[in-house]
């Protein structure tokens, strides 16, 4: 039956069209679309069939084995019993339609001395009263024979067969291993022999044969960290056998942290991975750098893959007008989409089973052009075999700003302002149209100069509420497993006003295995909706810079206080006016993946991975007239920015997998192909001139409408890839990968490129010479890999010369203009990163100490980036291949120890540390290039060149910097005098985690540490000059200013006006080395305590588990950094200290 169909396949293959005419191509596309559709339909049917485990048996006077055979036919159950127990059994009558197996069994056996037990998909029939307890042996010996043949089967706890378990006869050389059905056979062995079952994935188990000829063994799977499954590109491996540099983080670790983006839970946990968030708001941008910055400018994001489906690393541009910027960027990428926020915040952290971080070429080269910066794989939760399980989790907590900087109080502020006026020989005036030497200064002349408000308390001192409710239902049998989950998440802000980020997620997973185990289907999907409402701008800035004597926010009647002067003009911008303009971001996100797997022949699998994702964002930013000072409320001041953008992506990846073993060798081969298509669409509108504030968000009522931008782009990607993994006796492992990639981002000449890698591992602890040490070092592996990966992270269409329509509000001469879309470059090529990695993995004292060390050298050349051009060429930059090589060197070390392992008390410690160095190692044409004055060979690729700061001139009170000869100057040459090189990259980072389990208590905490240098915004924040007319408050530190001639201080004198000379010196100092300070920090990132009210293994009640817990994030930060926060660095809301409590209940 199978045969003719296969022939048909072959026929199609032979007649498959070669690449040729466009018509043929269209046909192929049509066929592919049809195929995809049919696959979908097919699997829906499949799953429907698979779920049905009900049976219909209508038999009269039938022998039991006939009934059992019927059950086997109709379900996935298999029977086990001794033939002889049925010999005396009565014939039975059964009449059950669409009943359960249990019903049938009870009906069959009700009057018999037999009993049954269901273990996984196996139904065991035994004589009553002889039901086996664990480990009990049913005696039935063949007496008389000294040597017997023994056969049997090895299964796991779920009754699923385990392949590759070694079965040895103790004290002899007789050995075999189990086949893919878990079966083994040992011929002619002593009937009193002892069988030893062992393997890399199972706990070793011994059994006495005791004359038996059939032995069924259920083994416990090994729990060593070395053998936990690691998801890799197109497959799985374990730490024991992998040749690459991979780290896994379990979902449980992520779910111990009250966060809204799983990336934030990875901070400090993975060697080589550096993550920082841009703000403390929910949905914030997150920068992710794996083993440093490969590309000099932009294109440094890793590849994200969710259940096999690539996922965007960047949002589409947010509302034009830039006001959507409150969420911050995810890295300083110059390529598009490059919007604000992080797309990963639309993935539900509660749905995550594990996250794998792939770093070296061996692990990532098979992803080809997309993984030059590594890959982060997310695997979502899957249903498991077992009875129906309901798991619910309720969590509630609060977050607050935890760090602050001392700012001036009213008295000090007034002193500064008055001194600034004195220094300038000017006088404050209450008259808004004062003429020099009088200057309008309402803070000194109109406002109450004794009033004091701690604006940080008022504007960012609130409590952000955190709530998370999550529930999943899962279960299944050997044929079908399912998981359905829902999550509601809500976070508010610390700002005054009613702002919140609400999210709802639905996640599902269905696994179906056909009865003959040949066909496997897995459908996973999640849909999330996020409604994020925030003020127009981050109030953190106002909270620091509002003068301490600024007027009260509200009038006695509750309206906004604009503190008008004598002429009725407002004297300040009331910060609450920002809250009236509510930024709304509504995002929905669908990620779905379907995996179809068919075992064509033993060892040969055909697999297709099909994915679709859709990320749609709608933003609106209304500006209402009441948010403006009363004197400037006009209809044209009522405005709205609207955006609607969608990222759509589908992918199809057929694969062929072949596994075989010959003597001690195991070979796994994989070939596959990828077709991917992303399309981005966006529309950005601006409307103004409304009659009322109420209707501002209705674009139809705008009297003038501008289309700011429209985006429509398509990215196509196709590839063929392969991998061969050769394993000799779990001792020598060779892993080869290759990929040929094509991307639509390049011109016809350079669309394709080949990537490949070699990885070798030597498990030296398996060598005989090592056996003596095996009591101490239980596992040791050396590995080395080398390979290439690429990067095509540039805008779409950069090889085309394109014109954009430009449509202002009033079209010029009623026609839409066409503007040049930058310079095209038809010669664009792939960027290539060569990665080399050496690693050693050691495990000591029965796997209680695990040590990993790796040395990684990555070199990126032919870099694809925005090559800066002088503006005389007409453009700032052109996307070009850059003739420079950037080297990233990281040393990664991690240590896992099981310090105490007792029955009631365990203590585990995990420590990791990374030392990272980034360097520009070659740039042959640097001196004549446009980067001659910007880059330095031997320095980091993102080096900052600064002046050397010389302090304040005691005579004039102005800053001085050094010229190239070291002499003080106030007019430095910005090209030749910038002699100090600043490295802003983190040089050392890592984390220390401890986990304690004491009876029912569990305590986990994680310290994160980073050594780095960052701009000290506290001295030079926002270009706000101490004392100036923008009326900004200043840090207390500013009081150390130069007061009088002859005095030595660090800070320039105060100044009230727009004194250009003073500003120039201020800018010079801001571009000097004094502006960069140590921003190293140690942070108690996570603390979680839990208590089990119900212990899973003991309870017989309704609840299977019940746990209460407290989780804290960013509890404590130790740093010398003077600014707001060493992680966010700029004046945005710092990461919040969040403390939550929750309860988890399982049924």
């Amino acid at each position: 039956m199978f045969k003719p169909k296969q022939n048909k396949v072959m026929y199609l293959i032979e007649n498959a069209p070669r690449a040729g005419t466009g018509r043929l191509y269209n046909k192929i596309v049509l066929v592919m679309r049809l195929t995809a559709f049919l696959l979908m339909v097919g699997c829906l049917q499949m799953s429907a069939n698979g779920i049905a485990q009900s049976v219909t048996i209508v038999e009269k006077n039938a022998p039991l084995d006939k009934i059992f055979k019927q059950i086997e036919k109709q379900t996935s159950y298999v029977f086990f019993y001794d033939d002889h127990i049925l010999q005396n059994a009565k014939k039975v009558d059964v009449n059950i339609k669409n009943g359960s197996v249990e019903q049938v069994m009870q009906a069959c056996l009700k009057d018999m001395p037999l009993n049954y037990q269901i273990v996984g998909n196996t139904i065991i029939v035994v004589v009553k009263g002889k039901a086996r307890a664990v480990g009990e042996v049913v005696q039935n010996t063949d007496k008389g024979l000294a040597f017997i043949d023994v056969r049997g089967r090895v299964t796991n706890e779920n009754g699923e067969p385990i392949a590759g378990v070694t079965v040895t006869v103790k004290g002899s050389k007789q050995a075999t291993s189990t086949n893919s059905q878990g079966d083994f056979f040992i011929a002619n062995t002593d009937k009193e022999a002892i069988l030893i079952f062992s393997g890399s994935t199972v706990e070793t188990f011994e059994v006495k044969v005791a004359g038996r000829t059939e032995v069924m063994v259920k083994l416990v799977m090994k729990v060593s960290k070395l053998d936990e499954v690691q998801v890799i590109a197109y497959g799985t491996t374990t730490q024991r056998l992998s040749t690459g540099n991979i780290n896994s983080i379990k979902g449980e670790e992520i779910q111990k942290q009250p966060i809204n983006n799983f990336l934030l839970a990875l901070e400090g946990r993975v060697p080589g991975l550096f993550i920082s968030q841009s703000t403390g708001l929910s949905g914030t941008g997150v920068t992710v750098r794996l083993q440093g910055q490969n590309s000099i400018f932009g294109g440094n994001d890793p590849l994200y893959v969710i259940d096999g489906v690539p996922y965007s690393s960047q949002m589409l541009p947010t509302t034009a007008g830039g006001n959507g910027g409150i969420l911050g960027k995810s890295g300083d990428n110059v390529y598009s989409p490059g919007g604000n926020g992080s797309p990963l915040s639309y993935i539900n952290p509660s749905d995550i089973e594990s996250v794998e971080v792939l770093k070296d070429a061996d692990a990532t080269s098979i992803y080809g052009s997309r993984a030059a910066n590594g890959a982060i794989l997310v695997t979502t939760k899957k249903g498991k075999i077992g009875p129906i399980k309901i798991n619910s989790n309720f969590q509630y907590g609060e977050g607050k700003v935890s760090r602050s900087t001392d700012m001036m109080n009213t008295q000090q502020y007034i002193l500064m302002r008055k001194e600034a006026f004195r220094n300038d020989n000017l006088f404050p005036s209450a008259n808004p149209s004062a003429v020099l030497p009088f200057v309008y200064a309402p803070d000194l002349t109109i406002w109450d100069t004794t009033r004091f408000t701690d604006w940080r308390k008022v504007l960012i001192g609130g409590v952000a509420k955190y709530a998370n409710i999550n529930s999943t239902v899962s279960g299944g049998n050997a044929a079908i497993q399912y998981l359905v989950g829902g999550t509601y998440h809500r976070e508010t802000t610390v700002f005054p006003g009613d702002f919140s980020d609400e999210k709802a997620f639905v996640h599902f997973n269905i696994n179906n295995v056909s009865i003959n185990k040949k066909f496997h289907l897995q459908l996973s999907g999640s849909y999330g909706y996020d409604n994020n409402q925030l003020p127009q701008t981050d109030l953190t800035v106002s909270s620091y810079f509002l003068p301490p004597n600024a007027p009260s926010l509200l009038n006695p009647d509750g309206s906004l206080n604009w503190a008008p002067n004598a002429l009725g003009t407002s004297t300040w911008t009331n910060p609450l006016s920002i809250n009236l303009n509510r930024y709304k971001n509504r995002t929905n996100n669908l990620i779905s993946s379907l995996i179809l797997n068919y075992k064509v022949l033993p060892g040969l699998e055909l697999l297709a991975n099909i994915g679709y994702s859709n990320l749609g964002t709608k933003e609106s930013l209304p500006i209402v007239a009441v948010s403006k000072p009363p004197e400037s409320r006009t209809s044209s001041n009522r405005q709205v920015y609207l955006s609607n953008s969608t990222l759509n992506s589908w992918i199809i990846e057929p694969q062929l997998i072949y596994k075989t073993s010959m003597s001690k060798a195991r070979i796994e081969a994989l070939v596959g192909a990828t077709i991917q298509r992303n399309s981005n669409e966006g529309l950005y509108l601006f409307g103004s001139g409304y009659n009322s504030d109420v209707v501002v968000e209705d674009i139809r009522q705008a009297s003038s409408l501008t289309i700011l931008n429209s985006i429509s782009s398509i990215y196509k990607y196709a590839a063929a890839f392969g991998r061969v993994n050769f394993n000799w006796n779990d001792k020598y492992i060779l892993n080869l990968t290759a990929r040929r990639d094509g991307s639509s981002r390049f011109g016809a000449q350079n669309q394709f490129h080949d990537f490949g890698s070699v990885g070798i591992a030597w498990i030296f602890s398996k060598e005989s010479f090592f056996e003596r040490l095996s009591n101490i070092i239980s596992f040791g592996k050396l590995k080395v890999s080398y390979g290439t990966t690429g990067n095509d992270q540039i805008d779409d269409y950069r090889f085309m010369n394109l014109y954009n329509p430009n449509s202002p509000t009033v079209p010029y001469q009623n026609t839409i203009g066409l503007s040049l879309n930058g310079l095209p470059n038809p010669y664009l090529q792939w960027e290539e990163t060569k990665k080399m990695s050496f690693g050693i993995d050691l495990s000591a004292i029965k796997d209680r100490i695990l040590i990993s060390f790796s040395y990684n050298l990555n070199r990126s050349s032919n870099q694809l980036l925005q090559y800066a051009l002088p503006i005389i060429t007409g453009v700032n930059s052109i996307v070009d291949n850059f003739p420079a090589t950037v080297q990233n060197r990281t040393l990664e070390f991690s240590l896992n120890t099981s310090n105490i392992k007792r029955k009631h008390f365990t203590w585990n410690t995990t420590f990791n540390i990374t030392s990272s160095q980034n360097k520009l190692i070659s740039f042959p044409t640097l001196s004549t290039s446009t980067y001659a004055n910007q880059l330095v060979i031997g320095q980091p690729a993102n080096v900052v060149k600064t002046y050397h700061f010389l302090g304040v001139d005691p005579a004039t009170g102005l800053y001085m910097v050094a010229d190239s000869r070291g002499n003080p100057t106030t007019t430095p040459n910005s090209i030749t005098d910038k002699t100090v090189f600043i490295n802003k990259n983190p040089t050392i980072y890592g984390g220390l985690q401890n986990a304690f389990i004491f009876n029912r208590f569990q305590l986990d905490f994680l310290f994160q540490f980073v050594k780095q240098i960052a701009p000290s915004n506290i001295l030079f924040g926002l270009g706000s000059y101490p004392g100036n007319g923008n009326r900004n408050n200043q840090p207390l530190y500013a009081l150390n200013r130069w007061p009088n001639p002859g005095q030595n201080t660090d800070l320039q004198k105060f100044s009230s006006g727009s004194g250009v000379s003073i500003f120039n010196q201020f800018n010079n100092a801001n571009s000097s080395d004094i502006a960069y300070v140590d921003a190293s920090f140690i942070r108690l990132k996570t603390l979680s305590i839990s208590y089990d009210l119900v212990k899973e293994s003991t309870t017989k009640g309704v609840l299977s588990s019940c746990r209460v817990y407290v989780q804290c994030q960013n509890l404590l930060t130790i740093t010398k950094y003077p600014g707001l926060d060493p992680e966010t660095q700029v004046y945005t809301l710092p990461p919040l200290r969040t403390i939550t409590a929750g309860i988890q209940i399982g049924f």
Binding site: M1, L12, L38, D183, K218, Y717, G742, S1058, V1060
Partner: protein, 509 residues
């Protein structure tokens, strides 16, 4: 250790056979589909799979110069860009009236101003640093020159366009290139002469001498004069219209007259301005309060407002220069400047231009009276524009010819031209009757006629070489700054100096 053991007498491991034929057929079908897909992928070759068509939102360069409409849209966009320039963004050519007015002696900056760029231009304290204050015109204009260059290249090779459109657009592109270079050379001195769109050559260009730049300007303007129509065309670049918002032959002539005057080629300057002045079927001096209306008889080239919001259908000049009744402020759009007393005192008594409500208006706040430019009077949005931003006008041509004639000794001719302007301003005929006093009178007339218009005053001070003597007096009055002669040229942007190793900074920066 946990383990479970079963013992069975006879072999009874039953592997379930699949007898449900439908399901099995389904598996095989699925397997076949996967197989077909797989094979197709490999066989059909990948290049088709990564081919993309241009996005629907964009037009490719190969198409843009194939149809009259899209080719015209490229030049239309240039005017759109110019007209989009507003004062709250960085300084750019169309907003030069403010910035050069601040640098020269036309504006006083309000004491409460908080705009650093305005303060820097005002106090003649431009510097070369990363903030690029002082280099904005450079940064703004070279990209526009790039548009002209690529348009000239695209138009020149195009064979599909109708000849009239092609000729008109080529003329417009050359005129615009000359217009930009004229301002660049006057603001920065020696500058790179970029005439192609080839970035690899252009990224390492050195500075060219002023005379080389002027040579190119004259050559482009001569070409433009030949190519452009003498009437006005609409957005199609072929149909005629009354809207004077695209440059025509006379715009090229007018700029050529100004260029010759700057170069001291007086005979040519006189010839060019005469050509326009004599073209009375299109151009006549308009009454004072009609000069800046849209499509006025005096307009040679104007820009139509394109912005929305608070600037809908009004000129940015009206929005920014007209001081509201509660005095100057830092709002957006803001009114942080007013006319300097120096400019106000340079008007003669009875000059109609200075009369409130004509070209100047005043507001009194808290005992202080602020005078402000009132050439553009409409600062409230409306559904129809009544005023257009003036780029070139006939009045200047009379003053150009007056100066050219005076320099050549044609006193009577010069007086006649000067008096045309004076008469319109309600003044009596000039009393100057020798070359020196007449030139002085013309300079003064330019100050009060062309005040706060496209930086004419600043450029006059420079070309007449009186900038040092004037600014030495004026600058100290502006927040007690000091005049340094090098400030008459603006600094080159730091970014370009860093990227183009062949560029050098202007002396003094």
């Amino acid at each position: 250790m946990l383990g479970e053991l079963f013992y069975l007498k006879n072999k009874k491991i039953m592997i379930m056979r699949n007898n449900i034929k439908g399901i099995q057929a389904c598996y095989i079908k699925l397997a076949a589909y996967i197989g077909i897909l797989f094979v197709l992928l490999i066989v059909c070759g990948c290049s088709k799979l990564v081919h993309v068509d241009p996005p629907i939102t964009k037009i490719t360069s190969s198409n843009v110069f194939k149809t009259d409409a899209t080719a015209a849209a490229v030049m239309t966009n240039l005017y759109t860009l110019l007209s989009s320039s507003n004062y709250n963004s960085t300084p750019s050519l169309p907003t030069i009236s403010l910035w050069l007015g601040l640098s020269a002696d036309e504006f006083t900056l309000w004491s409460g101003n908080n705009n650093l760029a305005m303060a820097a231009y005002y106090q003649n304290m431009l510097t070369s640093n990363s903030s690029n204050i002082g280099s904005e015109f450079w940064v703004n204009m070279y990209p526009l020159i790039f548009v002209c260059n690529s348009a000239i290249e695209g138009l020149s090779i195009s064979t599909e366009l109708s000849p009239a459109v092609k000729q008109q657009l080529l003329g417009e592109a050359k005129f615009m290139r000359a217009f930009f270079y004229f301002y660049l050379v006057n603001l920065f001195g020696d500058i790179p002469l970029v005439l192609t769109s080839d970035y690899s050559q252009n990224s390492t260009l050195p500075r060219f001498s002023k005379s080389q730049i002027y040579q190119q300007i004259v050559s482009d303007l001569k070409d433009a004069k030949e190519l452009l129509t003498s009437g006005y065309v609409d957005g199609s670049a072929s149909n005629s219209t009354l809207e004077r918002v695209r440059p025509n032959k006379w715009a090229a002539t007018a700029l050529l007259a100004r260029t010759y005057l700057y170069l001291g080629d007086l005979l040519s300057a006189e010839a060019q301005s005469t050509a326009i002045i004599n073209y009375t079927s299109l151009y006549n001096l308009a009454p004072l309060n009609s000069v800046f209306l849209k499509n006025s008889n005096e307009a040679i080239w104007q820009l139509q407002p394109v912005l929305g919001g608070t600037l809908l259908n009004i000129t940015p000049e009206a929005a920014w220069f007209i001081v509201p009744t509660n005095g100057p402020n830092n709002n957006q759009p803001g009114n942080p400047v007013y006319l300097s007393s120096r400019l106000l005192t340079s008007f003669e008594v009875n000059d109609q231009r200075k009369i409130n409500g004509n070209w100047i208006n005043t507001v009194t706040v808290g005992g202080n009276t602020y005078s402000f430019p009132f050439k553009y009077k409409v600062n409230l949005t409306s559904s129809n524009a009544t005023e257009y931003r003036m780029m070139l006008r006939l009045g200047e041509q009379y003053l150009i010819r007056a100066e050219a004639r005076a320099e050549q000794g044609n006193i009577a001719g010069s007086q006649a031209d000067l008096n045309m302007i004076r008469t319109r301003a309600g003044l009596s005929n000039t009393t100057s009757n020798d070359k020196a006093t007449l030139l002085n009178a013309i300079l003064n007339e330019r100050q009060v006629e062309l005040f706060t218009e496209m930086g004419q005053r600043w450029m006059d001070l420079k070309r007449k070489a009186i900038i040092d003597s004037v600014m030495t007096v004026v600058t100290p009055m502006k927040n007690s700054s000091v005049w340094n002669s090098h400030q008459q040229l603006f600094p080159l942007p730091l970014g370009d100096l860093q990227k183009d190793p062949y560029l050098t900074q202007n002396a003094g920066y």
